[in-house]
Symmetry: D2
Subunit: 204 residues, 4 copies
């Protein structure tokens, strides 16, 4: 006879950052919870795959039934500006900031110094070619590397610059500005951050 | 149209210790995962309620189709010894220890100093009466309060002692021994722990 | 009879971030250490006041016997550029970055939202007046607010801008640039940081 | 010319758990503090060695000028009971508990699994012999191993038992009791702790 508690615990233990102990706590929580909560979770998980599709344009996961996601469909966004992000959550952080009016492309991962990890190289190049195929206003002019200020982020940026080198004559490649992020204290900031904060100082 | 990503994120956010951020990470993890992983999770959650039943005897959640859970059905366990635990996970910790051969009863909660929380008082009293109804060998002789060494645990123990006071002439009530738990350093141990460790010192 | 252990423990407990427990551990460490280590510490503490003086120009604490500290004495530094920092350790962080060639002034504190804290207002205004008294090359042209990206830092910056408002026609006031600091992940960056990082994006 | 700031910072950095950054913060704190605070610290450190002596009996560090420390001098304490602790702070924790009326001996360290560390073996044996030399009432009858419930503590206990084996016919060797320490939750307690807590359960 199957062991339903262990089965669910090991399914939960596959979620990022969840160990066997917490997975088990989830199971007991659901057992004590009203059947409706269990049903809602089962339903939401079950329908996820059908309800959410990967946008063929930016490769992010999004609800909806259109040919492309809402950001890619938005006529008011600037086709000349393309931002590359690691993952969907990073894209969400940029949208929360509310100032980016260009397009997006999700690399789907980062490259580690130990050579691990992978990004969507073929898809990226196809997307670049497509952007350059357009003419005039809508032609791709700038690619923004919106990667984390971590060694993985920098390692990934190096690889992307390598991939984009053949297009440098037509595309400007830029990276997010460095400086003091909200909450950082000067005393504990490293030299590179302080240099960037000085370089990027602004009227106050 | 429903928003499947937000729906699942809020369902995950109901799990203990999971905030909106991590809930969202779970969703994106499942989106990137093979459909089979999503299906397995949905199935495991959906079938949990049917496959697992609350044992009418000890009130723990357990797999299986018998009238009572395997511990309550186990003839080799001593009916005269009843251990009260807060929740199923505590019972599991005692089983891992492997030395308890008596029965269990799950209180289903703790009482906080601020008067919050609830335990299964009626069910506990019914269980005690039933234990005393038996005669001879199988009559209930000792109740072990296996509660955490926290203020909630002690507060709950007070209430249970209150409930058991009418039976004190027939039942011995005991509590788990205090002392140094694995990993504790003497320097940081509080007075009560040190006193118990001295009191419970053993041949070495 | 004095209690030397308690006396030293309470002296150590006055150091920032040191509680009674750790203070006591320091004492026992010194008791077990060679007398030479105790002597060295006593000597270093005792001589600190005499060996280190507060520079009358930038108000930082520095070794040496000259009329002003080495940074203020350095002819190669640009008198037209003045950086305001909260404390000596912040100044040290800027020096580690190695790109600032102007002068410094240590505010000696921050102002909290709850109205606590104090900065050297009179000394700051005197320093500004002095900078403006110079003529041509050496006249003060820019004041850089090098404060932490915290609510205290911003609160302090507000007050400094207020103090400097009468000089705005002659002095440019700037603040450190915001953006991703080393180690920050895009996913967890707040809106203000992401907006600044986008604004300050650079060729890559 | 010596650098008084760096000198003091490196002296502070020798204290347990203090890194270069915090050491430097201590220095700047003292620079900003009234001269009297610096003087008090220097004096307290300087006089420590003279004011505090290691008791020749229990080997702990203590104030006072008597031939032995106050605990060893206390006639009301039981010579038949000797407690072995790793360090002075552990002895202080036992005193805080307030129930131990026997004598102490400070081992002065622990032995690690990697074979590092050292304890006062010769001194311990001398102390045992001395205790056995006494006759009747005051003869040593029990040695309590009051060590932390860590691998180092157990490793050290093994060695001490080895050293004491020749005296087993005359001395009872005991160890602190294990169980739930204040604050431990049953769910997270390891098997050994739970078994001890069950073994040491008491009337409640």
């Amino acid at each position: 006879m199957a062991n339903a508690i262990d089965d669910l615990a090991s399914a939960f233990a596959k979620l990022p950052g969840i160990g066997p102990r917490q997975a088990r706590r989830f199971v007991y929580h659901l057992l004590a919870a009203p059947a409706s909560e269990r049903a809602a979770l089962a339903k939401a998980v079950g329908e996820l795959g059908a309800a959410v599709r990967q946008c063929p344009e930016c490769l992010r996961f999004a609800n909806g039934s259109g040919p492309v996601c809402n950001y890619c469909a938005d006529r008011s966004r600037d086709d000349a500006e393309l931002m590359l992000v690691e993952k969907d959550q990073d894209l969400a952080a940029v949208e929360r900031a509310g100032t980016w009016r260009g397009r997006y492309f999700v690399l789907g991962g980062v490259l580690t110094l130990s050579g691990k990890g992978a990004i969507r190289e073929k898809e990226l190049l196809k997307r670049i070619e497509k952007g350059l195929a357009d003419s005039g206003q809508t032609a791709l002019k700038e690619v923004v590397l919106a990667l984390s200020a971590t060694s993985e982020g920098e390692h990934t940026a190096d690889r992307v610059r390598e991939l984009l080198s053949p297009y440098r004559d037509r595309i400007r490649v830029s990276a997010l500005g460095r400086g003091l992020s909200t909450g950082s204290e000067l005393e504990y900031s490293d030299a590179e951050t302080v240099r960037a904060a000085l370089r990027n100082r602004h009227e106050s």
